[in-house]
Amino acid sequence: MSEVPLEAVLFVFLLIVGIVVGRLRNLFSAAMLTGIFSFLSAGLFTLMTAVDVAFTEAAVGAGISTVLFLATLALTDDTERESDRSWLAIGVVSLTGLALFFGTFDMPAYGSPDAPIHEGVGRHYLMHSWDEIGLPNVVTSVLASYRGFDTFGELAVVFTAGIGVTLLLRSKKAVMGPGAKPIPQRSRAPYVREMPVVRAVGKVMLPFILLFALYVQAHGDFGPGGGFQAGVVFAAGFVLYGLIWGPRAVQQIAPERLLEAGMSIGLLLYGCVGVAALFAGGTYLDYSAFTPEHPTHGQHWGIFLVELGVGITVSAVMLVIYFVFTARPRPRLPKKTPEQSVAPAPRLTAIPELPTEGAEERP
């Protein structure tokens, strides 16, 4: 069955969403549409048989990225003003697009098996990874073993981002010391507190989300999954808890000190596995050195530990970023002039007249 109609529909939707995101002035809607863009592209990735990439894009782009945008918008403006540089922008964009269009003339046909990209390491990994590593998911074996040093650098980038965000946005006042006032049983988030349905369902879903994260972590060897996706889903569970009960409730169950330790421990674990391989007699991150008589067993152990490190650091960093963003004190409103608020609440409908005969008409 041809996938062309499905791909064409998805591409058209993506293009429409991309154009509309630029034109929307309400940034809240634009943030939601960016999440929809990531989600639709995850569908396209699945059609292009890139299942691991689709998983990561859906978890990261449609999940964490949207929360980060919302957190930023809560600290900055909600709407955008008009701009008048459209003609220059369209000119530059057209020129660049035209140049890229001419660049695609030399590219091979989409899906061609004779494309130059398939000669070389790709074929070697597909043909030999079962004998050398022994995992069904070739992407995981490439990510964690063949290109393991690359993934180490990527984990370091994630760690650096966590440190960077902490340095930029961590506020003295936001730190919850051990003697801070405890949060009462009822939620402190004011307008969400009266939502018993949301609270009940959140409580039901949370263990499934965390269990699914552990499943994804463990089954990255056999199907789409691995450390990154698992870390993001794990953090998303806690973020859901924070959206319902407020960020301070999350800080009680996932204290910030523990998360900061987790950030470093994952990266350290990854590096130490490499050094252990050195001590075992191989090169850095050569897991086969752990069990020289059965190289694939050593590979399995190495990949397991390395992915565990990735999962720990990624979940810790995502949670730390969430904490830092939501704990940042909001722009204060002077009490005297409430009209000069940062973003006036948009009134979508007019408030109707209060019914004066309400007392008699109620059954």
């Binding site: 957190a71 918008l73 003697g179 939620s187 307008y191 499934f208 722009p331 609440a345 309400g358």
Partner: protein, 191 residues
């Protein structure tokens, strides 16, 4: 046998597609925010369930179990988020447009006037704060230079802790539940 299963599956699948299309049309054509939310919720619940249950008829048992689990989780999460959206919109001050539909959430008080708590522009949390569930600290201090205020200077941990915590009186007894609830409500709604 297989043809009958295929026909039943196709009918359910088309039913799900019908609900998705109707939900999409309703999202555009309905006049009021709350009716549009209802249309979107219909897409989540009936449309998704119809499509996924219809697919069950073409699959093997393990895939059927996975599809039904997906339906359960969609019903748990998407439908409840539609509910949360509607609640948040009401907290923000969006009201029903149709004057012939009575808003039963405003209960008339004993004096006969309805009490509606509508937050003003300054007090209403922004959409992002509603989404994140965070509170806005409204205290008297103006902060023109928030950047300097949040500068991470070298303070000892003791000073940091003392600065962060309000005074905690451990000898105070916990307030009895019913009395504290109304106090909390007023305080939270006003802040």
């Amino acid at each position: 046998m297989t043809l009958a299963l295929a026909i039943v599956g196709t009918v359910i699948l088309l039913g799900g597609v019908f609900f998705c299309v109707v939900g999409g049309i309703g999202l555009i054509r309905l006049p009021d925010f709350y009716s549009r939310c209802h249309a979107a919720g219909m897409t989540d619940s009936a449309g998704a369930a119809g499509v996924l249950v219809g697919l069950c008829f073409f699959a093997e048992p393990l895939v059927i179990a996975k599809l039904l689990t997906v339906v359960a989780f969609i019903w748990l999460s998407s439908v409840v988020s539609t509910h949360a959206l509607v609640k948040a919109a009401y907290a923000r001050g969006i009201r029903l447009e149709n004057p012939r539909v009575r808003d039963w959430t405003t209960r008339p008080s004993k004096s006969g006037e309805a009490e509606v708590v509508v937050p003003t522009a300054a007090e209403a949390p922004s959409l992002d704060e509603l989404a994140l569930g965070v509170e806005r600290e409204v205290d008297a201090a103006e902060a023109p230079d928030l950047a300097a205020e949040h500068e991470l200077t070298a303070v000892t941990e003791q000073e940091e802790r003392e600065a962060a915590i309000p005074e905690l009186d451990l000898s105070a007894q916990p307030e009895p539940e019913p009395v504290a609830e109304t106090d909390d409500d007023d305080e939270e709604v006003r802040s």
